[in-house]
């Protein structure tokens, strides 16, 4: 993956920059020793690494504003960072950039159960937002699999989703307001505890903007009362096609489960070996979960099982206890880890119309043979958000490049099928140069104009999202 060459003029300013940053932050919040900077050299897309010029860990919105103002004055690029779990290289530094990490800012500022929201600093992890309201039987709905580690900051920047977003929506549907610092240090507040925008929906624009419009320091999030109960059912099928058809039929039948998760044979085998969840050895598995009281669950699952039976499942296992539910989810939740045990993998995130699932899965199988790289599929089937995991060997010459080429082919296939390059992980550097497969030049130009408005100097996370060639004149200016 190509990254722009570092700006020598910026590199030459390091000493002065560190001095100025140390004047507005405690000394231990400015990291500039090479050895210590290694922590920040990559995110979860570990194939790409580059230590930044320095890293700062401000503890308040004011400190963030002070840092940005300095970098703005000195024309130094800034890469915002939450927990560094991005799979798209969204938080990958360049050698001439400052990493601005919000990890120290993780306080709960306000909880309000009557109005059903929580206000937090954005360094707080996703799971600990729910942790803060759990005692009152509330939860924060978007639940990325990385929720133990990832921060609300990154969730907002990527508009992250999770297994349960079929029912509850993704981050943007659960975000009520933000406090954000613009690159020149201006602090703005968008939204709040009330619903909808007074004018333009800037909140909707900021969510998913991958750290390119401002640094989000506080967020007001919608919280919900926990359902009375939830119950998953495990379904095994003879082929991916049949499982895909079953998903489509469930959706058409008028029931809306909270989650429909899909795993194919390579993933089933890997997770069995890794976690031993007791999955049947079959071509495709679905986990379908519904929520409500016991009677409501019975009613919905009754319908779902009836549909599933029409597709000749090789296995239908309805959970009868909390323990069994946990086992059904265990394999799914450890799927990425399990695949990681086999080899290095690249996780794609293309989304397609649910109706194209069988066709796309078949084509991915063909591409796998053509490239000679194994692929496992584990994904959110209810909304067509695929996660093909391409296995490769990072130590083998040329394997990464082969994997990237195959990934690009799969993503182009998703676009051709009427879908998109990324459903929840974001573009980052990973899909940056593929944007032209999905967008016409004018579609990208208007998005870059939006960045012009928020960050006229193009200093915030500049080498991401847009193809380098498209953004070059702006970055160079």
């Amino acid at each position: 993956m190509e990254m722009p060459a570092p700006d020598a003029a910026v590199l030459a300013k390091k000493a002065l920059l560190v001095e100025r940053l140390t004047a507005v932050l405690p000394a231990d919040a400015v990291i500039h020793e090479e050895r210590e900077l290694k922590v920040y050299e990559c995110d979860a897309l570990t194939a790409y690494k580059c230590p930044p010029l320095c890293a700062v860990l401000p503890a308040s919105t004011q400190e963030v504003a002070a840092v940005l103002k300095i970098c703005h004055d000195m024309d130094v690029p800034v890469v915002p960072r939450g927990s560094g779990t991005s799979l798209a290289g969204g938080a990958l530094p360049t050698a001439d950039s400052v990493i601005l990490g919000v990890a120290k800012m993780n306080d709960v500022l306000e909880t309000n159960y009557d109005d059903r929201y929580i206000r937090v600093q954005t360094g707080r992890t996703n799971l600990s937002v729910t942790g803060a309201v759990e005692e009152q039987d509330f939860f924060y709905a978007p639940d990325p699999s990385s929720q133990l580690a990832c921060a609300i900051a990154g969730n907002i920047a990527m508009n992250s989703g999770g297994a349960h977003c079929l029912k509850y929506g993704v981050t943007t549907n659960n975000l009520l307001g933000v406090k954000m610092v613009q690159m020149d240090g201006t602090v703005i507040e968008v939204g709040g505890a009330h619903l909808d925008a007074a004018g333009y929906d800037l909140l909707g624009l900021i969510c998913g903007s991958e750290g390119q419009l401002g640094v989000v320091t506080e967020a007001t999030l919608r919280i919900l009362r926990k359902p009375e109960g939830a119950r998953p059912v495990l379904m095994g099928f003879d082929s991916n096609e049949v499982a895909g058809a079953c998903v489509s039929d469930i959706i058409k039948a008028g029931v809306l489960p909270v989650a429909i998760e899909f795993m194919d044979r390579p993933v089933i085998r890997a997770t069995e070996a890794f976690a031993g969840a007791g999955y049947p050895d079959c071509e495709a598995l679905l986990i379908v979960e519904v929520e409500g009281s016991e009677a409501e669950i019975d009613e919905q699952l009754g319908l779902i099982l009836q549909i599933a039976r029409k597709h000749d499942p090789v296995e239908l296992r309805e959970s009868t206890s909390a323990e069994e539910s946990a086992r059904i989810w265990l394999g799914r939740k450890s799927a990425f880890g399990a695949m990681g045990q086999i080899n290095d993998y690249m996780c794609l995130d293309g989304t397609i119309p649910v109706s194209s699932l069988p066709m796309v899965l078949r084509r991915i199988g063909e591409l796998s043979k053509q490239y000679g790289l194994d692929v496992g599929n584990v994904f959110h089937a209810g909304d067509g958000n695929m996660h093909p995991l391409i296995l490769f060997d990072a130590n083998k010459e040329g394997d990464l490049e082969l994997c990237e080429a195959m990934g690009a082919d799969i993503l182009r296939l998703c676009v051709e099928a009427g879908g998109c390059l990324t459903g929840e992980h974001g573009v980052g550097i990973e899909k940056r140069d593929l944007m032209v497969a999905q967008f016409e030049p004018q579609d990208l130009e208007i998005q870059m104009k939006v960045k012009d408005v928020f960050d006229p100097k193009w200093l915030l996370n500049p080498a991401k999202v847009f193809p380098l060639a498209s953004s070059e004149s702006r970055r160079a200016a």
Binding site: D114, D115, T172, I188, E189, V190, G192, A193, H194, L195, D196, A197, A198, G199, Y200, D201, L202, G204, L205, C207, G208, S209, R225, P227, E228, I251, K252, A253, G254, L256, G292, S293, E296, T351, P353, V354, S355, H380, D383, G384, N385, G418, G419, C420, L421, T422, G423, V427, K431, M435, Q438, F439, E440, Q442, D443, E445, I446, V450, F454, V465
Partner: protein, 369 residues
């Protein structure tokens, strides 16, 4: 008047325009500050382009009548999740609401609290900006984070950033059964407290409103689930006196359509305001509003207020956060007070966006201030 029948013609009409354009869908929601300009109508950009029930998605041209879309969805037992209100009786307009108008004004209804607003179900747009460029954003899949989310930005931009030519939505299955539960004789304080209690319960209420002293809740779902939740809510609400349950689905539909469309304030003289606040702020604001008549939706988060003509409702208890939109008033009042709540802290960004999307300032100039 321009009435392009293709996106290409729409683009040409805008590119070649020599003066301001007044963008119109069905003309049933003349919201915003008065605009003068040549009318550009989307009425002929009409038709459902793609409907995939198995993928829960629909794509339609902007001028497609909302009723046509709702009928097509009903045939497959599906629906738009956000229950868009109808403004005709409130604003005294006639005509056919279009789906593009729904998007341009980000219209929702009582189900907002559960299913979100129009923007939450909108998954793709095509539009022509003020320079005549045809642009797409989003698409027709349920999850999409590819590039910036201009879909949300276009929703509720009232034609001032571009003229929407096509929209895509994610859908929900139809509603098998529903019921309305009612508690009588309450003050706004009590009503908002009761609504908070119910909305904080696990019983998935899809409507919570207060008007004429009655607190109303709606539940929707499968028949057994309705019976169960209805009984649970009756128990929960038993502390507050007699609880009424309406199980006739037609009655429930009528009750909530009246709430959505604010029927209580149809054919009434006076200005009409739409106020969005944190629900627990609603009782205090309602008290401060004094003479105004009010109705609450969204558990108290949405206040409809009918006032004496010309009243500046934003001057009342300005410390209460949120926004107050002037929905119905004469042109002079709209010009004086402005339809939309000013956002001084965001003005630079808003103006910056407008200048980029519509450099000549010809799309609905002045409508949003």
């Amino acid at each position: 008047m321009f009435e392009p029948a293709t996106e290409q013609h729409l683009s040409e009409a805008i590119r070649d325009a020599s003066g301001p354009l007044k963008i119109r869908g069905g003309g049933t929601r003349p919201l915003g500050n008065p605009v003068t300009g040549e009318v550009l109508s989307t009425a002929k950009l009409s038709g459902i382009s793609l409907y995939e029930p198995g993928a829960l998605t629909i794509v339609a041209q902007a001028g497609t009548p909302l009723a046509e879309i709702e009928a097509a969805l009903a045939k497959e037992n599906q629906r738009l999740p956000f229950e868009p209100m109808d403004h005709r009786d409130m604003l005294g307009t006639q005509g056919t609401p279009t789906i593009g108008g729904v998007v341009a004004a980000n219209i929702a209804g009582p189900r907002r609290i559960q299913a979100g607003s129009c923007r939450d179900s909108l998954i793709g747009v095509r539009f022509v900006d003020g320079a005549g460029e045809t642009i797409k954003n989003g698409g027709r899949v349920m999850k999409n984070v590819t590039g910036y989310d201009l879909v949300k930005l276009m929703a509720g931009s009232y034609g001032t950033l571009g003229v929407i030519s096509e929209v895509s939505f994610k859908l929900l299955p139809g509603i098998a059964a529903s019921a309305t539960i009612c508690v009588e004789g309450r003050s706004p304080e009590q009503a908002v407290a009761i609504m908070a209690r119910v909305l904080g319960s696990p019983f998935e209420v899809s409507g919570a409103a207060f008007g004429g002293g009655r607190v109303l809740f709606r539940i929707e779902g499968f028949a057994q689930s309705i019976a169960y939740r209805s009984a649970q809510l009756e128990t929960l609400l038993s502390d507050y006196g007699a609880v009424g349950v309406e199980t006739d689905p037609d009655k429930t539909r009528e009750i909530w359509s009246n709430i959505a469309n604010v029927a209580a304030f149809h054919d009434t003289p006076g200005d009409l305001w739409r106020i969005s606040v944190k629900p627990s702020d609603a009782p205090a604001l309602v008290a401060e509003l004094g003479m105004a008549q009010t109705m609450l939706d969204w558990g108290g988060g949405l206040i409809w207020a009918l006032t004496e003509p010309g009243t500046d409702l934003r001057a009342v208890a300005p410390e209460i956060k949120g926004h107050r939109t002037l929905m119905r008033a004469d042109d002079a009042t709209k010009a004086k007070l402005g339809t939309f709540h000013p956002e001084p802290g965001l003005a630079a960004i808003n103006q910056g966006l407008r200048a980029k999307f519509d450099p000549r300032g010809i799309l609905n100039p002045g409508l949003m201030g």
